[in-house]
Amino acid sequence: MSTDYSVVGKRLAGVDEKDKVLGNIVFADDFVMPGMLHAKVFRATKASARLKKLDVGKARALPGVACVLTAADVPHNESVKNVVGQTTEVGLLEAKHQVLVRERVRYWGEPVALVAAETSKIAMAALKLIVAEYEDLPAVFDPLEALKPSAPKIHGNNNVIASWKLRKGDVAKGFAEADVIVENTYRTPRQEHAHLEPESGVAWVDDSGVVTVRYAAQVIEHYRDIATVLGLPESRVRVIGTLIGGGFGGKEDVTVEVFLALLAWKTGRPVKLTYTREEMGYGRHKRHPYVLKYRTGARKDGTLTAMEAEIVSDAGAYVYLSPWVLIYSTVHSTGPYLIPNVKVDARSVLTNNIMTSAFRGFGGMQTVVAYEAQMDELAARLGLDPLELRKKNFLKTGDVTASYQEITSEVRLEECARKALEALGEKAVASSPRRKVGRGLACCWQSYGRMTYLHDTANCWVNLEMDGSAVVRSGIPDLGGGQRESLRAIVAEVLGLQVQEVHVISTDSQVTPLAGTVTATRALYMSGNAAKLAAENVRRIVAEKAAEMLGVRPEVLEFRDKTVFSREDQGKKLALTDAIKQCLFQGKVPQSLDTFRAPFTEPITSDVIKDPVFPDFTFGAQAAEVEVDTETGEVKVLKWATAYDVGKAINLNRVEGQMEGGAAQGLGFGLMEDYLEKDGLPLTWNLHDYLIPTSRDVPDIKSIVIESESGKGPFGAKGIGEPSISAAGPAVANAVRDAIGVRVSHLPITPERVFFALQGREKA
């Protein structure tokens, strides 16, 4: 049983939820300013070309158009990022992204020009008046083709932009010791985030000349990118992050903010830009599709002896975060298993497809598809129960992984897997002789906290008001996962307040101390720890004064219900407000601005990863039961269970919410989601053709929250944002395999793929 707290761990609703059900939230597109212009982006309609001619004259002349910008109008058109930690094989990588196409077009939909006009309608009419002429250039769309020396080069002279390896033991020896070896190639889809709220924002230049962008941002630190592009000092750019209508990594890379800032700065007027749903399709990055070739060997009793993998990810037309995504893949590629001999070669390669970058799971997720399929195949070949086979190999606390990182927190995989399977209850009977029921289990590990060589920090400022209420200032964005509410609960817990007595101000780069991104499952770990640290320091200031007033040692004091009392003698107590008053009177302000630092390590300098990369890992499992119609290949998901050790749940409702949402998004990845392109041309750019699960596609989900309190986050918490999706697709893939006796290794598992698999052939 986990520790019982007053606020933390309860199912408490927050202030934000109430505003949301009342329809009171002003999302990015809901915001209007007087004199506001409307912006549109003119995009290339070629996958690989040279822009020969660009004529914006007619567009500029259209009445109602305030400005049209091309690459020539952008002060620093190249946004250059040195991607830290690149391998020596690839060389120091400067990931150059152009803000607007100057000459070279590398993907269909690449931004070429920006229009700002009095109305959306005029802006759209202006787009139609822009004339662009292209000269086709050679292109490559298959990442495996792009690896070849003869392939057209997207940037520079090498399409491979990242390469990482794992080397442990001797795989030849390991395979020789194996009684059974399973080899297979897996393919995962290009998944689109499909958050309900399109990318959107409004920018303006305020009275003091600060370029201000209010937009749906997962990373408010992008004010620095804006400053670089505009050639302004960083102190002259401000980002206000809105409450976001879903992100999942889709609002993590730069989206609308640079365009907005440019237009506001050039016109001197407020400007709004909201992507259409179609633009979200062809204008924004996706999840990397992967090709994973795995070879796994095990002894008769199920112990793994060796694992070898070749992994290739499609980085699309620009580098973005592909190298980092690949590091995650490489480190996680073994699965949460102790394998004595490991050889993994992973590469990320450019193509003229849409760029790929951050998406919940960030490279770790794709490898689960491979390693959990391998485990089930081994179990089948050895005649072992899938869970029993896994139990023989689960990592334990103190084990060292193939990337030479020691597991320091608890590993409750066996408990997660067992409880997930149990939660499925009795196996359903097929509804007809032509349908088959199957069950699948998938276990996973996924890091939380950013890669440690990035030296991650988070700041937070907490203060107590005279009436005992508290204010928390944190730069952390809120995507809907309740990041702000978690801070409220943590500070309330530490200071002995109700959640309603804690006010959170967040997500303003010039007003709230920067807390970093909502990515990498770091929000609770980093901003939560920062808030806890600051609240504890505030508590110390008040406790010192209260102790003096009560004549006791500060260590014996408890804070509860706005009262400070001695744990040893409940008669010694005083009102929190009295203690605060005395503090202020003596000039000891009950406030604290603190920085929480994650462990700092050195940059990775070799292509072989052999040092700790992450602060820690979350472990969990999901189980699914499906019914497959063997006549059509249709898969119906009957039951679902998800079980994760989250360390400590700050709010049980929210943790379950993440687990259920992750399960559904992973179910989509497993069964129906694939952003398709043909020769770089987008095919499924809207929600009509790109299918995500509806309420009829997702069954009732049982969430099992396990709390080892062994995490590095506040109160022993780990992270759940990304782990919650990672095992879902593999669970349903294993369930289908169990139902029909043959594996579909190319996700998503569409009815057509099942149909042809049943016929004995795999169709691409």
Binding site: R11, V21, G23, R277, N653, E660, G661, A664, D700
Partner: protein, 159 residues
């Protein structure tokens, strides 16, 4: 560009009269948002996501695929008609109590679809609940707590 012909429209939104002069192709979604009813969300503008759901003449419909002029003289209700901070509708209380939302973007539409269901079928099965909200996409919650919340209200909770 040719001068756009405009038409007068007069309707009631949340029992309040609203009138304006608009272009023919203005959708009800465009109109409502321009008139300040920003609680009606634009998720896709093509009828695929349900975020723009409103109640029009007693039926839950997609405002992005309804011409504003088609609603001339009609009664339209948005999520703000359900309740206020002091007096929330049982469904709103249930969504909060069950945490049947995360980012909240689908929530206005989802609540109205739920209300439309309970108005016509006060005791739905879980399957009927799932069917009733199948036109409202949610990417955050996995629908579990949404179905739980609606079921709870149908069984008398939060009243």
């Amino acid at each position: 560009m040719a001068k756009t012909e405009t038409y007068n429209i007069r309707l009631t939104v949340n029992d309040r009269p609203v009138s304006a002069s608009i272009a023919a192709e203005t959708t009800l979604l465009d109109f409502l948002r321009e008139q300040g009813f920003i609680e009606v969300k634009r998720g896709c503008d093509k009828g695929d996501c349900g975020a723009c759901t409103v109640i029009l003449e007693g039926k839950a419909v997609l405002s992005c695929l309804t011409l504003a002029l088609q609603a001339d003289g009609c009664k339209v209700y948005t999520v703000k008609s359900l309740g206020t901070a002091e007096n929330m509708h049982p469904l709103q209380k249930a969504f909060v109590g069950h945490e049947a939302l995360q980012c909240g973007f689908c929530t206005p539409g989802m609540l109205l679809a739920a209300k439309a269901l309970l108005d016509s079928n006060p005791h739905p099965t879980r399957g009927e609940i799932r069917e009733a909200i199948s036109g409202n996409l949610c990417r955050c919650t996995g629908y579990q707590k949404i179905v739980d919340a609606i079921e709870a209200v149908s069984k008398g909770a939060y009243r």
